[in-house]
Symmetry: C2
Subunit: 212 residues, 2 copies
């Protein structure tokens, strides 16, 4: 069997499991978001703040190559967080998510965020059963990222421009970044957030609440 | 054939090609560095500055999922840059590098930097034939990254802490990041650079020149 055939059969299996996850989420009326970003864009800090708003009704499955830093931080913030250690894999799969769902009481949750592995490429191709993929892009990363990583920015229903408080200290053209996103997906939503100042979170919460 | 066997045979083929690349580099007395980082850590800006120092004797093979922004920027800076578009793959392979070497006149180069795809995970496993892997970590990404991505930080011979000028505006414990790197590789070298102020480049140049 060729390498391509093996990968395409793995992708087909992933889609079947994603459909099962999606049905389970619908059954519990859960809004499920798949957070995708580079390492260091601030996903965990965003989720910490959301944890203090939604408390234990916010479930978080956080993927990591190694270590449980993030789940510890998120549980301290009040959320119901669970860590998946992938041991080297560069993206989460629907099966890894399905396995962790067994450890969560979904009837107690209203929202579930799947914090994908920090990587702009591989995670974008895998359906996990989510309601929406949300890209998190820190303004320190450069405004050309949407054009350079079209696979993610075509699929992301919303883009969070994070660390917006650092804008005066970096070269980042918000207009260019947003226009490049719109070329890939004209219906994309934007949020400008700062975990330092709290800017932009009210709009983000309204978006989340609208997904249910 | 199982997926694991397919991948392991792909890795074996990669190592064979990497050995051929390494022999070719040695024949030309070239110092070859494999730059690995997250998207937005500042690899291209570092290389722009190096281009203005070394001019056309600095060869650069820059990997990207799509677009030729980076090669254009680097050629304008005076270096001899060539772009590889991987079309979705999340890391460079020794074969992709071998193909591009045919388009470069190696006898005119003293240094070659391979700017890998922006990804902390996948690229770290692939030998390209380089003299050294160098990790580039921007201080805006968080000081826990070395502990979270041990596959890269175990293999990196040097770590460039970049955007060091932003240190006053972010929470980043340089001591913690460096200690975590040393736990994985006690011989690791550190450089603190800012493309804005030029800080740290003299030390970095000395390191590069010592690799020849």
């Amino acid at each position: 069997m060729s390498e391509i055939k093996v990968l395409s059969s793995a992708m087909q299996k992933n889609n079947e499991v994603a459909a099962r996850n999606r049905a389970l989420f619908a059954q519990h009326g859960l809004a499920v978001v798949n957070f995708i970003s580079s390492p260091g864009a601030g996903k965990t800090s965003l989720l910490e703040r959301m944890g203090s708003r939604y408390g234990a009704t916010l479930g978080i499955i956080t993927g990591d190559v190694q270590m449980t830093f993030d789940a510890d931080r998120l549980n301290r913030a009040g959320a119901t967080a669970l860590q998946i250690e992938t041991g080297g894999t560069c993206h989460l799969t629907a099966s890894l998510v399905e396995e962790s769902l067994k450890k969560l009481d979904l009837s107690k949750l209203r929202y579930l965020v799947i914090e994908n592995i920090g990587n702009l490429i591989c995670p974008s191709s895998y359906d996990l059963g989510e309601s929406a993929k949300v890209a998190v892009l820190s303004v320190t990363e450069g405004d050309e990222k949407p054009a350079k990583y079209p696979s993610l920015f075509t699929r992301a229903q919303a883009v969070i421009l994070n660390k917006i408080d650092l804008l005066p200290h970096v070269t980042f053209d918000v207009h260019r970044a947003e226009e490049d996103c719109r070329k890939l997906n004209r219906d994309v939503r934007f949020f400008h957030t700062s975990c330092k100042t709290g800017e932009g979170f009210d709009e983000l919460y309204r978006y989340f609440e609208g997904l249910r």
